[in-house]
Structures are given as C-alpha cells and as structure tokens.
C-alpha cells in the first residue's frame, strides 16, 4: 500500500469513527447498529480489568442482535435522567497488514445531564477491527477500554 493510499485509508477510518460517535450523540440507534457486522463483538471494559486479564466488561454484546437488545434497554426498559453525550475521537492509527483492518483511536465522551454542567463521562481508547461491506466500513470488533475504573453514577448510552 502506497503512502497516499495509507493516508487516505486513515482518513476514511477517521470519518467512519466520527460518524459512529455522531450517531450515538444524536441518539440515532439505527445508524449506530448499522456500524456493526452481524457477528460483531462489542465491549465497554475498564482498563483495570483489561490489563489484568479479567474478562468482565461493563457492557458486553456478542452479536449485533445483542447490541439491539442493549439499544432496546436504553430506549424502552431502563429508567434514567435525561442526558446527551458528545464524542471527541482523535489519534486514529490503522494497521491494514492483517486480513482485517485494525484501528485504534482515543476517545473522550462528555455527558450533559439536564440542568447540570457538562462533565467527562469517559476517556479511553477504541480497539477495533473493521471490514468493508457494500455500505462502507463495519466493526467486527469494538472494544471501548476506559481509563478510570470509576463510572460517575450510571452508564446509559454506548460509548
């Protein structure tokens, strides 16, 4: 892959990650789900657990269907204070050498709860595998590995 091709691919991945984050911030759950392959694995896991090899994730979905169940919980069953998020995604690095495209990026997600100041909800890194489908990239794996094990009260929306 030429230097130009690599650069272009990185920008395409950045675009994809930005639109993924924007879908969550907009509460556009169809668009969010469309970012995943049917057998995608999604986790929000603390760096503490991840680094020490503990498998427990704060959110664990083993398929797009399970992600749909998570979205269903967010929309229909869970009770929480009204809020919205804002994703800032940067530092995208890609590694196309394997049979899938590997991408790593930093994220910072801010949360604004009604009548309260904006706070940092979570800071961490995305560790993703992507494949190209007709519609564009989709995740086959997305691990959101968050730096501080402490969650400020509750975690409602995906990261």
């Amino acid at each position: 892959m030429s230097r130009e091709e690599l650069l272009l691919l990185r920008i395409e991945v950045q675009d994809f990650l930005d639109s993924y984050g924007a879908a969550i911030d907009a509460g556009d759950w169809d668009k969010f789900l469309a970012c995943f392959a049917t057998d995608a694995e999604y986790q929000i896991i603390s760096r503490e657990n991840f680094d020490q090899g503990f498998p427990l994730a704060t959110v664990r979905c083993e398929s797009r269907k399970m992600l749909r169940d998570r979205v269903f919980g967010v929309e229909e069953t869970m009770m929480y204070e009204p809020r919205f998020t804002r994703h800032i995604i940067s530092g995208v690095r890609i590694d196309p050498s394997e049979d899938h495209l590997k991408a790593i990026a930093n994220y910072c997600v801010f949360e604004t709860i009604v009548d309260q100041e904006t706070k940092i909800l979570q800071v961490g890194r995305y560790d993703a595998n992507l494949i190209q489908e007709e519609s564009g990239f989709v995740f086959t794996k997305l691990h959101c590995i968050f730096d501080s094990v402490i969650v400020p009260n509750s975690l409602i929306y995906p990261i």
């Binding site: 603390s46 994730a57 704060t58 998570r70 069953t77 009770m79 969650v151 009260n153 509750s154």
Partner: protein, 424 residues
C-alpha cells in the same frame, strides 16, 4: 406572593439548623430525612456502624492467593490493606503510616515483602509491625529518635480478621463474635448457599460513584416492593416479580436480610395489572443474554443478601457479585463490585456469568435504574431535613414475609440502625 416581613415574624422560635437526635414518634415506619445528609450523623456512623462491633466485608481470599499478596480496601470510609503473610495468615491494617498518617499503599492489588512509607521510609512487615525507622540512631551522633522509642508500640493499627469460605471480613472491635454467630443461623444458611467452600474466581471489577447516602443502597436491596415496578427489565423477563413465589428473610436483629424469589413466566396475571411498566410481548433478539442455568439447591433463582454494615451478596440467575459499599461523606458512596464465579466453572458457565453481568453494574439493565433513582432520592430529601419518609407497605413490623409486597426488611434495618446509633 404575599409579602412577609421575616424580621418581624418572631412568633415561632427559630429551629435548630440541624436535627441530629430526633426520630419520628411513629418509629421505624418513618425515616427522617436528615439522616441522609447530616454531617454529624455521618461521623457518628463511621464510629458506631463501621467502627463498631460488626464484621465489614473487605475482600475475597482468592484475590490474595500467594504470600505477600495485598489489596487495598475500605472499612466504612477508612482505607485499609489486606495482606497474606508468609504462613498464609491474613492481616488487615489501616492504610495509614503510624508516623505522620500517610496513606502509603497506593496499588489496588500487588505483592510485596514489606510496606515502606514513601515519606520518611518507615517500613512495616506483612503483619503490620514497624521494622524500620531511618536515622533512628541519628546521623553522626546528631538527631535520632529518643532512646525510649518503642518500635513495637508504633505498628500499623490492626483490625480483627475473619474468613468464611473464601470471604474476608474485618472489624475495628477487639473481640468481635465469630463471623458465624454474627451472621446468625438463618443468614449463614443463605451465605453458605453461594459460599459453599468451593474455590472462588474473580471475573472482574466495576466501581461506581453514586451521589447518594450509603443507606439508600441498603434500603434498595431490602426493598422488594420497588423491584416489580421500577425494573421493567426484571418484570418483563420474569426474573423478579410481585406475583412470583418470593420471601423476605432476616436475622434476629433485622440487620441482615435476604430477598428471595423464583423466576416465573413472562405473562400477564391479575397481579400484574398494577405494573404499568410490564410489557409481555417483548423478546430478546439474542436470548443468550438471559440463559439461566440452575446451579444452587432449592427453587430460588435470585437471592440478594444484605449483610450489615457494608455488603450485598448478589446472586441473580448466574451472575454473582460482592457489592461493597464505601461511604464517601454523607452525600456520596462508592459501590465496589467484584464479580466472581467458581474455579471449577466450565467455559460455558463463565460466558453465561459474563453475559448476565449485563444486568448488573454501572450499565446494568437492572442496576442502572437503581443508581439513577438513588440520586433522585438524595436530591429529593436533602432540602427537606425536617420531613420524613413513610414505610408502611406490608404493615408496621419487621416480621419475615413469604411475599415481596413489603418494606419489612427496611424497617428491620432501621430498627437496628437506631439501636446502634442511639437514635430514639
């Protein structure tokens, strides 16, 4: 808005700014709101509840498999360290240097041969005894500690330690009762149900900072009334619902309790008509999320045990967790979750536990409802110190019940709380 001249309104004398000693006449069917935020009451709780003759959960012994292993933990809001020494004996001491109070242990989990305070390098062995004081004899004949300085009198402050089937407890009391006597026969039975002597295995941790008073967490897990109503996920999938066989059991003092229930079908019955949130037509897209497998004797599929003063043992289907309550001032507590299974779990069971963990923790389909509602409770009561909540569901007493339409265990909790705190 009628104009009122406050300065001239001297008819009623000004009330004390804080009410720290009054409990409503009705007794335990009421809970006064000042106990959720009063700073003096909080201090007293640290002394009487967490510092009193009670066993506080601190760790699972499988977290410290080797000699020299240690873990940071808390008893109330006091930081402590749990250590396993060369002979496999567990020690719990304050995470506070005997010299100038430095919190010396900064790693969550680790292994060491001794503890050294970084400030002046005082060092302690694995049992907390002071073994080294730099420049004790002075330098070039100058300075040094007094001749009569007794190292033995300046070790780390020790707590009493008890272990039962892989669970470690600590107490600031010198000679607390045995852990078995402390739990009492009835609660020990439920404890042994999960901790049956099999070796445990940690699956991972979660921690949440919840902006609410610590007692609201205990109330929540002693309150089966809310579970059928608040938790749409639970009722929808029949995991915990008012029309299922269930019970509230307690120890003789009302300080420990269990909410017990058995999974039912996903259907509407006459009893479900009050549950506005019940949705019977829901199915999971991926049913592996809820694929419970019976693993404990008896018919109960969920037993939530609250052990005074700081522990919730969670067994909901196959998701097992210790929820350690760490108060952080009257208006905030940390909930420290340790999810676990058994060492001999097969791969399928581990996966099942990890999937079902989606129900619990900071993002839990069920428990996020609770962390949200506890914040609402705190914000609701703080401005109204002189008002009180009402708890008359299922009567006024503290008897055990074979149903879940009751606040009996919360009344039991406050009955014991008042005795410990001397609040009458």
């Amino acid at each position: 808005m009628p104009y009122v001249n406050l300065l001239e309104d001297r008819e009623t004398p000004l009330q004390k700014p804080t009410a720290t000693d009054h409990w409503p006449e009705e007794g335990i069917s009421r809970v006064p709101y000042w106990i959720y935020s009063d700073p003096a009451n909080y201090k007293r709780e640290q002394e009487k509840v967490f510092g009193g003759p009670h066993w506080n959960y601190v760790a699972l012994s499988c977290e410290l498999p080797n000699p020299g292993d240690f873990k940071r933990s808390y008893v109330g809001d006091k930081p402590v360290v749990i250590v396993k020494d060369e002979n496999g004996k567990f020690y719990v001491f304050e995470n506070r240097c005997a010299h100038r109070g430095v919190q010396f242990c900064r790693e969550r989990l680790g292994n060491t041969k001794r503890f050294v305070c970084p400030y002046h390098q005082w060092s302690y062995d694995l049992s907390g005894d002071l073994i080294g004081v730099p420049f004790r004899r002075g330098v070039k004949g100058q300075g040094g500690m007094p001749e009569n300085f007794d190292r033995k009198a300046h070790g780390l402050r020790q707590l009493s330690v008890a272990e039962r089937n892989g669970v470690l407890f600590a107490s600031f009391a010198d000679k607390p009762s045995t852990i078995e006597a402390y739990l009492g026969e009835r609660m020990l039975g439920y404890f042994n149900r999960v901790f049956d002597g099999r070796e445990l295995q940690v699956l991972g941790y979660q921690r949440q900072d919840i902006p609410a008073n610590w007692k609201l967490m205990f109330e929540n897990i002693k309150d089966p009334y809310h579970a059928s109503l608040l938790h749409v996920f639970l009722v929808t999938f029949g995991l915990f619902r008012a029309d299922q066989p269930s019970a509230v059991h307690m120890d003789d003092y009302g300080r420990h309790a269990c909410l017990i229930s058995s999974k039912g079908d996903q259907k509407a019955t006459t009893a479900t008509k009050d549950m506005e949130n019940l949705k019977t037509d829901l199915i999971l897209n991926d049913d592996r999320l809820l694929d419970p497998k019976r693993e404990f004797p008896g018919t109960a599929t969920v037993v939530m045990q609250t052990l005074w003063p700081n522990l919730i043992v969670q067994q909901q289907s196959n998701t097992l967790a210790m929820r350690h309550i760490v108060p952080q001032g009257p208006n905030k507590f940390r909930l420290d979750w340790t999810f676990f299974g058994y060492k001999n779990d097969d791969e399928e069971m581990v996966r099942r536990r990890l999937r079902q963990a989606n129900l619990m923790g900071a993002a839990g389909f069920v428990s996020a409802d609770d962390s949200e509602v506890m914040k609402f409770s705190q914000e609701g009561v703080v401005p109204y110190q002189r008002d009180e909540g009402i708890m008359e569901m299922g009567g006024l007493g503290t008897s055990e019940e074979e149903h879940m339409v009751t606040e009996s265990a919360i009344r039991g909790f406050y009955g014991y709380y008042r005795k410990v705190m001397g609040l009458f």
